[in-house]
Structure formats: structure tokens, C-alpha cells
Amino acid sequence: MAEDGKEESVATDDESDHTAADGTGSLNNTMVEEGSTLLRRMEICVAEAEKRSGKNAVNMQETFTVYLIETRPMDAVVEGRNPAPDALWRRYSEFELLRNYLIVTYPYIVVPPLPEKRAEFVWHKLSADNMDPDFVERRRVGLENFLLRVASHPVLSNDQILYHFLTEEHGWKEVVYETGFQAKADSRLRALSATFRVRNPDKRFMEMKHYSDELQSHTSQLLRARARVADRLYGVYKVHGNYGRVFSEWSAIEKEMGDGLQSAGHHMDAYAASIDDILEEEEHYADQMKEYLFYAEALRAVCRKHELTQFELEMASQDLISKKQQREELATGIVRTFSFKGMTNKLFGQEAPEQREARLKLLEELIAEGEETVKEKTLECEEHVEKAWVDMQRFKEQKDKDLREALINYAVMQISMCKKGIQVWGNAKECFLKM
């Protein structure tokens, strides 16, 4: 899980060595280090969830949930002062807006995902209703996790829009739209979903993209299989409840065996009931897996962005080459490639020298522009590769650490379930022995 900034005074954050893009002069903390993350300066948590009603964009009544974000300056916490936190309410769609802004603005970053919008991978007893209190609670945890991850990221945590999200309740949306990110978002969406062939993509990125597909596939398989297992296990436990009833009925016709049977029956009821808590706890494991299912998508997007920049570079280079060829043809008169101009020249005679001059001049201008474009695109591509590679490495380490911990926690849960089982059956056995 994300570094927990709530209890500790200093989040252990060795990634702060990576330089942050911009300064954060608006914060009054004199202890700000270059590149230290927001989480070091500010305690953040999503404390509560509440239902609200209001009119939506088409003037219809709707119910939705809002989440309370509380923040406190870290130095106050460290010094032992306990000021009241600043707080504001946000709904899920605002979190989505924030994330979309971050994705567009930092295309070289594997942006942390939000908890799922709708309940998926549900096994039969679990509610798929968004208003279900368990779902809302898990979502609250997920949103907090999102904020903690973003606020501890060496690059993302310095973003101003993020800061405003956490501190300015009103008018935040307008500020986001004013950045004009929406336009970039639309074009980016189009570009990323288009198919194009890249000639020389960075091999590492292609491997990473392949890996992201694998990760997505495996985590979703895992979640599906786990839900089915949970469903079946629920059935096994619940059927044992029938023993409770029949033992009770049987005990009524027995003399010496009666008490033992009756008590054993109660333990069977307890056994059947125990599965509810066990599976509820397992949902947290499922949530951890889901986070990485969605993370895989974010990783893939970064790889796709690389493909896009590389493609644009290749296009620009190609364009430059062809323009230079045209210039050569004009200058030497030798036609290498077919062109209508060449044909008409042959048929109707060559154009006048003035016209040629004009065209040559235009071409030179275009070539100069083209060279600038190629330079830009090269730089863009290189920068993206460099920055993205750094973040992908960071992501890899985080993923390995988080998932290992998740697996350990899963094992702990299984052990706890076994211990409970042993206890209940041990109790039942005691009763049987007393029969």
C-alpha cells in the first residue's frame, strides 16, 4: 500500500532524490527541500463519506457520495500541536478530473489509479450497488490511497493543481479547465487509440508494454478466479449451519447425548457464520490486486505515449527527407521520383526560372521549419524516454514491494482462517467427547 503518512512524521521517501519539475514557493514551509514530496509537508487523509442530493447538469435530482479530505501541516503534527485539520468535500468525479489532468500533463509518469468506479469481480453475496456502505467504505480507502500515492510521488506531488485540489474547495474545477488540458486530453485520446506503425521504438518500452499486458491479464484472471473460489467457499461453510439445526433437533430425543449434541450444534452455527468476516477481509486483498490491474493500464499508456512521440519523430524525419529530395530535384533538374510537376515539365516544358526560384525559396523555408520540427520532436522523444524510464523503474520497485506485501498479508489471512477453523472444530470435538 502507499506510504502511510498519517502516523509517521516523516514518510520514508528515497525517491525525493529525483528533481521536481517546478518549485512550490506558495507553501510557507521554510524547511522545503528541493524535490521533497508533498506528503512530507502535509498530512492527508480521506476521513469520511456522506450521501448528498443535488441537481445534476441536466437539472435532474440525483444522489451521490462525497468524501471528506482532511489536511494538516506536517510540522504541526511533528511538534505535537494538534490543530484542527482543514477539510473539504469532493466527489468521485472530481477525483477523476484530477487524474485525467495528471495523465495529460505528465505523460511520462505511471499515474496511480483510482479505485474502481463500479463494483466488479463481485461474488454472489457481495453487493454490486454503489451505494452499499461496504463498497463506499472500500472506495474511501481507495481514494485516500490514491491521494497518498500522488502526494508522495517525486514529480506529481509538486503539481499546483493537486495542491489546490487538496486545499481549495470552490472554483477548483474552473482552474483545472483553464489549464486547457481538456484539448490535449481529447487529442491524446484519439492518438493513443489510433493504430500506427512505429519503425524504431525503444525496445525496452516495447518490452514494458508487453509486460503491462501480461500484468493486466494475470491480475484480472486472479480476481475472477478468486471471486469464484469465494463463492464456493461461502457455500461450504453455510451448509454446515444445517448441522446446527439437526443436532439441536436430535438432542431433544436423547438423554445422555443431548447436551453434547446441543452445544456442538451451536459451534456448527458459529462455523457457518464465520465465513462472512473471513471473506469481507479478503476483499482488501482483492482491492490491492485491483489497484495493480488499473496500474497496468497506466503503465501501458506511458509506453503508448512513447510510441506516439517516436512515430511523430519518424513522420517529421520522413517529411524532412522528402522535402530535401524535392529541393535536390529542383536544383539539379534530375527527377528521382515521379511527380506531376516533373511530368508536366516534360510535357509542357520546364517552368520559368523565376517560378523555380520562388519554389526553391519556399522549400528552403519549409526545410528549415522541418529541421526545427525534427529537433523538437527528437528532444520531445528523448525527454519522454528518459523521464518515463526513470518512473517506470520506480514503479517496478514499488510494484514488487507492494505485491509481495499483499501476498504476505494474504497468507496471514489464510492462516487466521485455518486457526479459526481449528478452534471451532476443536470446540465441537470437546462437545462430542462429552456426549
Binding site: R228, G235, V239, H240, I408, I422, K429, F432
Partner: protein
């Protein structure tokens, strides 16, 4: 409930007694109502199934071993081979010669060919355990164990020659019953209570059987999903580096849990369900005895009534047959009550054993799973500290 004791040499009654006392007592509170001491001097075991193929048929025989100090037997030890037919013969003989006693049931005689494989290991094993139980119950019974047919069954090499009369006897028996036809006036309350108890008990056992079967079914479906779940971790491991070992570790744990559950299910199927079903048969046997008792009483009441009417007419003394009938009824009632008591106490022991066995199986299953997951955590955490130390170095 007889236990299997392995005696290397013929034992005297007292040393047998001593050995018995050392066992942890399952029967501490119930004492044999007939015998005045706790000595048991007849031990029987059914084991070692073997298939026999002849031109006419294929069948299974079992080894029946006997160790005894009773003088009714010529030798202290016997070892014979018997097939199901022979056990059936014995049971019929016992029913005929001891009509007032409860004869333990045999496992089902007929199995639908094609549905159940009569020669499969599981079937033979289950049937053998039931036959063993049957014989032990008979050997434990203070009256039945002295029956000469049992003696023959345990000692005679070739039983076939004696079986010739079996069929006729069986027919005769049923004729005897049908010919009864007397109507019962008033069944004593205690026998009514027995009948009601048996009905309810039988019903509850049926329910427990259904629940156990349902659990087995649910477990089987759970196992299918669990196996699939384990393979997901394995296949994920192939695309990871650092996480490969942890993921494979989880896959391996899941596999272990599958194996443990399979064992538990198989054990429930083989050991729990058959015993449960056999008890239902036992209840039916008991009900039969109650019916016979009712018949006997009805016959007596009928004859008595007839005799009283005749006496009023021509002053003849009470005929001997009526007195014999009365004796019969009183004997039957006494035997039945005694048998009922021992049946109840045996039932208590049997179910205590059956249910604690079920609990043990479940505990055993969870213990195996817990051990697997705990060793995984050790593995994963070792790796963690390994990484940490390599980081600081």
C-alpha cells in the same frame, strides 16, 4: 464396541482383562448388563479381502480371524475365509434361533451392477469394515455370541455344506410370521417410546446423511475452482522476476490445500457416510424386533382371550400353550429391554467416535493448510530481510 487387539499367543482371561484396562476407556460408564465382569473372551476380526475367479462367478472372500478362551470352541485360534453369502447365512440363522434378540445389520446385499463397481477398492474396503463391525457386535453380545451357528461360522473350514438348509429356513420363517395375524391390543408404553424414538432417530440420521453429502458436493465444486485459482498464480509467476518466487509459493500453498481437502473429502466419503447409513439399517433391524415382539404379545393376547371364553363355557383349565405364550412374551420383553439398553450405549459410543472422527478430520485438514501458509510466510519474509541487508551493503 470391540476393539481390534493383536494377540500373539492364546491369552488367558485375566491377561486379556489387563490389556483391556490399559486402553483408554470409551465404555467407562457402560457395563455389560449380562456379564458380571469386564472380561471379554472372544475376539474376531475381518480383513484381507481377496478376489476369487471361477468358471461360474467372481467373488470376494474375507479372512475371519478368531481368538478365544471359551470352552465352547475346540481351539484357541481360528482362521477361515468367508464371503458375503456366508455372513448372510449367519445372520439368518441368528434371527431364526434368537428371535427375541436384536441382530446387528449387514451392509446392503445387492448393488446395482454398472452403478457401483463391486470389485473396486473403495467398495470392498467399505463393505469389509461393515462386516467386521457386524461380527464384532455379534461376538460382543452376551447371548448371540454363544450361538452354535456363530461357532460354526468362525471355525468350520468349508461352510458351504451347512448352507443347504438356509433357503428353506428363510422361507419357513416368513411363513411363520404371516401365519401369525393376531391384532395387538395395548402396547406397553416403553415399547411405544422405543418405536417413536427409532422413527425420529432414523429421520435425523437421514438428514445428517443428506447434509454430509451436500457438503461433499460443495467441497468438490470449491476444489475445482481452487485448483484453477492456483494455476493463475503459477502462470503469473512466469512473467515476473522479483515476484516469481512469492507467486509460485502461493501457487504451491494452494495446491497443498487442495490435496488436504481432497483427503478430507475422501475420508468423509469412505468412513463417515457408510457408518451413518449402516446405522439406519440397524434401526430397521431394531424396528423389526419390536414388530416381532408386538406379534408375540398379540398372539398371547389372542390365545388368552380364546382360552378364557372356552373356560367360561366348559370349565377346562388354562391350556399349556397359553402359559407358554405368556412366558414367551415375558422373555421377549426382558431380552428386548436388555438389548435396547446395550444398543443405546453402543449407539452412544459409536456416534461419539463417528462425530469426533469428523471433527478430527476437519482439524487435520486445517492444520495441514496452516502449516503450508506459515512456511510460505517464512520464505517470503526471509527474502525481505535478505533484500534489506543487500540494500544497506
Amino acid at each position: 464396541m470391540a476393539r481390534q487387539l493383536r494377540l500373539s499367543s492364546p491369552a488367558s482371561a485375566s491377561s486379556l482383562f489387563n490389556r483391556l484396562q490399559l486402553d483408554d476407556d470409551l465404555e467407562a460408564d457402560v457395563r455389560d448388563l449380562y456379564a458380571s465382569t469386564e472380561t471379554r473372551d472372544l475376539f474376531v476380526t475381518v480383513d484381507d479381502p481377496k478376489k476369487h475367479v471361477s468358471t461360474m462367478e467372481t467373488y470376494i472372500t474375507y479372512r475371519v480371524s478368531t481368538k478365544t478362551t471359551r470352552i465352547e470352541f475346540d481351539l484357541p485360534e481360528y482362521c477361515v475365509r468367508r464371503r458375503y453369502q456366508d455372513f448372510d447365512w449367519l445372520r439368518i440363522k441368528l434371527e431364526d434361533s434368537q428371535p427375541t434378540h436384536l441382530i446387528p445389520p449387514l451392509p446392503e446385499k445387492f448393488v446395482m451392477k454398472g452403478v457401483v463397481d463391486r470389485f473396486s477398492e473403495e467398495f470392498v474396503e467399505t463393505r469389509m469394515k461393515a462386516l467386521d463391525k457386524f461380527l464384532k457386535r455379534v461376538a460382543d453380545h452376551p447371548v448371540l455370541s454363544f450361538n452354535p451357528h456363530l461357532n460354526a461360522f468362525l471355525s468350520v473350514k468349508d461352510l458351504n455344506k451347512r448352507q443347504g438348509l438356509a433357503l428353506l429356513t428363510k422361507v419357513g420363517e416368513s411363513v411363520k410370521h404371516v401365519a401369525g395375524g393376531y391384532k395387538l391390543r395395548a402396547r406397553p408404553a416403553e415399547f411405544c417410546a422405543m418405536g417413536e424414538y427409532l422413527d425420529t432417530f432414523s429421520q435425523k440420521l437421514g438428514t445428517i446423511d443428506r447434509i454430509a453429502q451436500r457438503i461433499l458436493k460443495e467441497q468438490s465444486e470449491y476444489l475445482t475452482e481452487l485448483r484453477e485459482y492456483g494455476t493463475v498464480y503459477s502462470s503469473w509467476a512466469t512473467s515476473e522476476e522479483e515476484l516469481q518466487r512469492p507467486l509460485e509459493g502461493v501457487a504451491s500453498c494452494v495446491k497443498t490445500c487442495c490435496g488436504a481437502l481432497e483427503d478430507q473429502s475422501e475420508s468423509m466419503s469412505q468412513d463417515f457416510l457408510p457408518v451413518l447409513r449402516e446405522y439406519v439399517l440397524y434401526i430397521e433391524s431394531m424396528k423389526n424386533v419390536l414388530r416381532k415382539r408386538d406379534q408375540t404379545q398379540a398372539e398371547y393376547e389372542g390365545r388368552l382371550e380364546a382360552a378364557i371364553l372356552r373356560k367360561q363355557e366348559d370349565r377346562t383349565p388354562m391350556p399349556v400353550e397359553v402359559e407358554k405364550c405368556q412366558d414367551k412374551v415375558e422373555c421377549f420383553n426382558a431380552d428386548l429391554k436388555a438389548d435396547w439398553e446395550r444398543w443405546q450405549s453402543n449407539k452412544r459410543q459409536d456416534f461419539k467416535q463417528l462425530l469426533t472422527g469428523m471433527a478430527d478430520r476437519n482439524i487435520n485438514h486445517y492444520e495441514k493448510c496452516q502449516a503450508a501458509w506459515e512456511s510460505l510466510i517464512t520464505l517470503l519474509q526471509d527474502k525481505q530481510t535478505e533484500d534489506k541487508t543487500s540494500e544497506t551493503n
